[in-house]
Subunit: 226 residues, 2 copies
């Protein structure tokens, strides 16, 4: 059983990558996978993979490896994606629209059940099957539709007030696409994605490659970045 161990933050990031790789192995009907195979596929050592997984209990099989279906299921439990999470997108601009159309969210258990904007020209329009609502409707809809996650896709200048509204409405987490640090006073969990930061990371790597060198063990960026 998990017991209560402290999980290194880099480990949590890698869990998502393990799951992504495992899902592609399920497709291929692969039955078992060793820490070596999994590590090679992701550019990690076998010891790293085993250490990461062992934080959550012992579900490998000596001599065999890990059963793909078992590990997949277990990782979903650990990450919390074995259940459904209702989410709202705030901001029906370019990024918001791209996210609404992103089919992968649903397959991962995240369902967009409401879309908000404060632009009168957009309110009432239907985008990707969602009628855009005014911000005033947020508190009621968060309650009615059991929305647990707010996806902030508004310009930097509006992001903090949107975050405050989401917190007041009672969401548990915020995925922030605005290029600003949101102050959430520990009221909710938060994860940020900033495209410009990602491009800058890349520019730095390139510039460095033109002169000095940096060890390239894994990718920076969010998710794997990172």
């Amino acid at each position: 059983m998990p017991s209560r161990a402290r999980i290194p933050r880099p480990t949590v990031k890698r869990l998502s990558l393990y799951l992504r790789e495992l899902e592609s192995r399920v497709e291929l009907d692969q039955q078992t996978i060793s820490s070596k195979q999994l590590g090679d596929a992701l550019g990690l050592t076998d010891a790293q993979v085993r250490k990461d997984l062992a934080y959550f209990g012992q579900f490998g099989h000596p001599g065999i490896g890990y059963r793909v279906s078992e590990l997949t299921e277990r990782l979903r439990q650990i990450l919390g994606t074995d259940r459904k999470w209702n989410a709202a997108v705030i901001g029906a601009g370019n990024i918001g629209r791209a996210l609404m159309a992103y089919q992968r969210f649903r397959r991962k258990g995240f369902e967009i059940v409401a879309v908000f904007d404060n632009d009168a020209d957009v309110i009432g329009r239907v985008i990707s099957g969602h009628r855009v609502r005014p911000m005033e409707d947020l508190p009621d809809l968060v309650r009615e539709r059991d929305i647990k996650i707010g996806i902030v896709a508004v310009p930097a200048g509006a992001a903090q007030e949107v975050a405050d509204a989401l917190i007041d409405a009672g969401v548990l987490g915020i995925l922030n696409f605005a290029p600003i640090r949101l102050d959430v006073r520990d009221a909710v969990s938060i994860t940020s994605v900033d495209f410009s930061v990602s491009l800058e990371q890349l520019a730095f790597q390139i510039s460095l490659g033109l002169t000095g060198s940096l060890d390239e063990r894994d990718e920076p960026t969010a998710p794997r970045e990172g």
Copy 2:
């Protein structure tokens, strides 16, 4: 002078955040900023800020702090965004379109100068001022337009072959939005952004918050990717 020191990867990520914060201080006409102020704004310690900046030389002023304009300029040099980087977007789907319309890229020195897709229905159409080109045109256009960065916004199944084409064409770096690990054989620099991974990180944090606890020092994601 910089000399040749090894730069910790976490430091590189924070440099982008420092720059983002400084740019907002420039707007407010703030002249100087201390490591304490900068750290507080980003949830970091003052020692962390100083250590990070000191990797690149000594440009703080004891008793005063850092001159905002000077540090801004210096960070741009370090990150490589004091120059122009021409980029191509591959994939004119939802994500590709959102990126084309993302004005912030240009302000950061990244200019999208070409867009490619392999869907006959999309080729030839003009989106956000860019005529969509067939993939066959990629090698010639990369050369003609001095494209240094490829932004991969195609489905996972097509991403590796697109990456190979970009490498063959001679780009220096790839920003990858496909949910797959690209094999680039050290030929180019790479940074990945995976929205589903970011959402899973958030789901994990929330699930954890409902039971145990995790130290919340900085944001995960990519940023905190990551």
